[in-house]
Symmetry: C2
Subunit: 169 residues, 2 copies
């Protein structure tokens, strides 16, 4: 059950990577410094685009590390360009693909502890952590990244976000 959700994370991270491609192309076409876009935010007290992408990756990578007991790769949080952010997504997807079914076998019943902000540790059962915390957080940061770019005039649409959905002919 846990292992079956890895494709949802991979599909969404790939969609996010494609959304970043559109951001980079838009910056080039409009002669905007791409860093203006990666540093944009929707409110002064919200994270900028680059941080949204970093966190989307961390939700997936740290979440599956907790569920599987496998150490996640460490990232230095230094990405600023679209290329660097896309590379982080690619490394995250590589990690997700490395998780084997037996490593998350039974993880739905284990108790997972995780930080929520700098001072708080929360606990959830594995299956609830996956569906009520990891997935909503993945979508939160992906959609917020999308919204930041859309707010800045990048021509992204909802099908970019849903890309990879398994449509029948």
């Amino acid at each position: 059950m846990i292992i079956q959700t890895i494709p949802d994370f991979v599909r969404t991270l790939n969609a996010l990577s494609g959304i970043l491609d559109k951001g980079a192309a838009s910056a080039q076409a409009r002669k905007i410094d791409p860093l203006v876009l990666t540093q944009s935010r929707l409110a002064p007290d919200m994270f900028a685009l680059a941080r949204q992408v970093q966190i989307a990756c961390d939700v997936a990578k740290n979440g599956f590390a907790r569920l599987s007991g496998v150490d996640a790769p460490k990232f230095e949080d230094t990405e600023t360009t679209f290329e660097e952010l896309k590379a982080r997504i690619a490394k995250t997807i590589d990690f997700l693909h490395s998780i084997k079914p037996e490593q998350v076998h039974g993880a739905q019943d284990k108790v997972v502890s995780f930080p929520a902000g700098p001072e708080r540790t929360l606990k959830m059962k594995g299956d609830a952590y996956l569906t009520q915390w990891m997935l909503p957080n993945l979508y939160f940061h992906t959609v917020t990244a999308y919204n930041i770019l859309r707010h800045n005039g990048v021509d992204v649409g909802k099908l970019d976000y849903l890309k990879g959905a398994d449509l029948l002919p």
Copy 2:
């Protein structure tokens, strides 16, 4: 499997209702016409807050109608106030609660047809439709509603969005 995801939709719609409460309270405290907030949008070619909430409801209601074969209640899409939007959410949750396990039994294997925009009909297998279309769309419109309010200075935080997650003591 399908029936087990209804609580994810209910929890997220309840969280959205709480986010709208904060929007209404902020409008009152700041002496802003609440309709200014419900008509706000992040980009000229994106839907305003009220429409985002309507669609979040429709994703849930029409999605489970297609999966179950039960007719969904019809809404007139006339909501403009926070109270009206919250009532639509409440009616949607009532419909979700009315779905019985036997009505979606086997729905993971059935082929679901659904409109994507005014001119296109897509098809997916039930389980893919649920996890790759309905859930990402529910989160998309909920997060966009959140982002519209946050962009307009409403004091919402991610825990408002994740509210109802089943934390252990």
